[in-house]
């Protein structure tokens, strides 16, 4: 891509400069170091929780590409997550495939599923699209229970998966190995996603988000990029689903209800729509805040969770992005 083209291409989307999508270099290094060191001092079950945070972060990031990137809503991410999880689980338990190899397959299958779902979704926008994807999320657990598939899916009983050991005789516990494995996968996906959104395709998606008519007038193939966004988002969600299945060691239809789709949506809003680093904050929110809410009251845990959520939306309408920018402002002032 020539320098001239670069300038021409970036002009129409000045409302969303690149830095909005990713963290600065220093901040990124600090976060990566923290993520690498944390498990060395944490208990195994905390490592497991952090693994789950990373996995949900991948799924939230996928939704962020779809909603923050191309402006399409989805309440059906749990369906792709389930598809990915079952793909990995079935390949591992029935097919005897290595767990790491199941992930690209899960991602590929989900990419195709998402792309195909994106085709009819082209006719829908805004809340109508949200409803259509909602239908997908509600249908998924029942489809998994269908007795035609029971030989593979285990029906309502689900499938139990064996947790992988660390390879090459590394002196790591299963939990710690899985954490670093997930960390590497999630960093790769994060870097790829940031680059995707910075690329020509990413800019096309954002142009569609900002103004569909203007984008198509400028020659962006709206249908292609919208379905592509769906496919990429579903594919990444599928990888997250596969990792989730390996970490939890169990898949069952009840793991992937509409609750999960809503949780991922919440994670995106709390993290900051369109701000990819926020995904991990959003994921931490959906893993830890229900535990905090429960700490206050068992009977009213749902209500306390709701209250915390309302407070966050009220005080931080832009989610964690708002905090990050405030902190960044302070840092700049201090430097001066």
């Amino acid at each position: 891509m020539s320098a001239l083209q670069e300038i021409v291409d970036t002009q129409p989307i000045e409302t969303t400069p690149k830095k909005y999508m990713a963290l600065g270099n220093y901040a990124s290094i600090v976060v990566v170091i923290l993520l690498c060191v944390a498990p060395l001092i944490a208990k195994n079950f905390v490592i497991f929780q952090m693994t789950m945070v990373l996995i949900y972060a991948i799924a939230v990031l996928a939704l962020n590409i779809l909603t923050g990137g191309s402006g399409q809503f989805s309440l059906g991410q749990s369906a792709f997550y389930a598809l990915g999880a079952y793909t990995s689980a079935i390949l591992m338990e029935v097919g005897g495939v290595n767990y790491a190899l199941t992930l690209p397959i899960a991602g590929g299958i989900c990419f195709i599923a998402g792309y195909l779902f994106g085709l009819p979704a082209l006719r829908l926008s805004g809340i109508y699209l949200a409803l259509a994807t909602f239908a997908l999320a509600t249908a998924m657990p029942q489809l998994l229970k269908l007795h035609y598939f029971e030989a593979w899916t285990g029906g309502v009983q689900g499938l139990v998966i064996t947790k992988p050991d660390a390879p090459f005789g590394l002196p790591l516990s299963q939990d710690m190995w899985l954490y670093y494995f997930v960390l590497v996968v999630s960093m790769a996906i994060y870097v790829a996603s940031v680059n995707l959104l910075k690329s020509r395709s990413g800019r096309a998606m954002m142009a569609i988000r900002d103004n569909e008519i203007a984008a198509s007038a400028m020659g962006v193939d709206v249908a292609l990029y919208k379905t592509l966004a769906f496919g990429v988002s579903a594919g990444i969600t599928g990888v997250a689903g596969g990792l989730g299945a390996i970490a939890v060691q169990f898949v069952a239809p009840d793991s992937y209800t509409i609750q999960l789709a809503i949780a991922l949506f919440l994670g995106m809003v709390v993290g900051g729509v369109g701000w990819l680093p926020g995904s991990i904050v959003g994921a931490a929110f959906i893993v830890f805040v229900p535990n905090i809410a429960e700490h206050f009251s068992k009977g009213l845990s749902g209500a306390v969770f709701g209250l915390i959520l309302v407070l966050i939306i009220f005080l931080l309408p832009h989610g964690s992005r708002q905090i990050a920018y405030t902190v960044q402002g302070w840092v700049h002032k201090l430097r001066k």
Binding site: T138, Q142, K145, G155, V156, G302
Partner: protein, 411 residues
Amino acid sequence: MPTLRSRALVFSAAVAVSLAAFNGAAFAQKKYDTGASDTEIKIGNIMPYSGPASAYGTIGKTEEAYFRMVNEKGGINGRKINFITYDDAYSPPKAVEQVRKLVESDEVLAVFNPLGTPSNTAIQKYLNAKKVPQLFVATGATKWNDPKNFPWTIGWQPSYQSEAQIYAKFLLKEKPDAKIGILYQNDDFGKDYLKGTKDGLGAKAASMIVAEESYEISAPTIDTNIVKLKSANPDVVLIYTTPKFGAQTIKKIAELSWKPMIIITNVSASVGSVMQPAGFDNAQGVLSANYAKDGTDAQWDKDPKFKNWHAFVEKYMPGSNKTDSNMVYGYGAAQTLHKVLEMCGDDLTRANLMKQAASLKDFEPDTLLPGVKINTSANDFAPISQLQMMRFKGDKWELFGDIISGDVKVD
């Protein structure tokens, strides 16, 4: 001076030795694993306090209240019970997270009465690998009675399949020419009943069952399913549903002026939450089977054992609704654990806990029907396997016939 000093040394050494010997003797009697000490026994639990199955949360609250009562009365063998219960929202991934927290962070001795088939399946492998007892799981699936493959998991309530077999036995005896219609929930719960019925009917299943109709738990109403069932014209209807749908079914059948013989699962046999909403007139003659007393059934008000339950609810759970059968359930399960911990004495190791849980002989919690006894052994990890048939008459259930055992062998 040196002699004096050495004497003092000898003396203190002698004291030290005798102290050590004394301590040694004491330690020989008392054995502890993680989660147990001279003063405390830590018991973990997970329950759906939020989410679609949150109605079952009452079980956890009842158990918490039960152990509060035990502690106020001095604990078990002088040790207080520290009952730690977490919310899993009926989600298997959350169940794994919370159980790992219980085992690795709170360091409980055992996980007791975790609820739900999916959640229990998700944690079973982990707990068995860690050799942490998964005691008295709150699900009626048949698979928990599998001591060979899962020696750290034990069930509690009668399995759905064994209950369904009892209905099948009853029908083969009382109505061998029955044309059976089955309404079941399309999940593990409903399908277990379906399997149990077919197994119980054996070779006659194909000819006797004329219609099978399933519904999803998310359905708002099942009126159409019942109309469809009626079109096959069965004269016996088996209702394998959760309470809300049980009430709907009994009511709808009456509205259609249809009078088949009705058998309803004991999951939906509550007087307060099924029979009353369905209408007592509509529910006359409905059959079911049970193993526990019904908190809303007036015939148990004078029962000396069940009075304990009433007193417990009034004192430790004031203001709660006695029609909620989950409080009867939670009390019974907690009392079983109470008994097992008593039997453990001062040997509070996980292995001994499991051994004692598998050595219950004719134990009768306050809340079980007279004659229903809990028996376990090294090969029998299904504590309750007896039920009694009952018929709804007036505003209560009347028990009839013998106590029937419905043991199901796991293959």
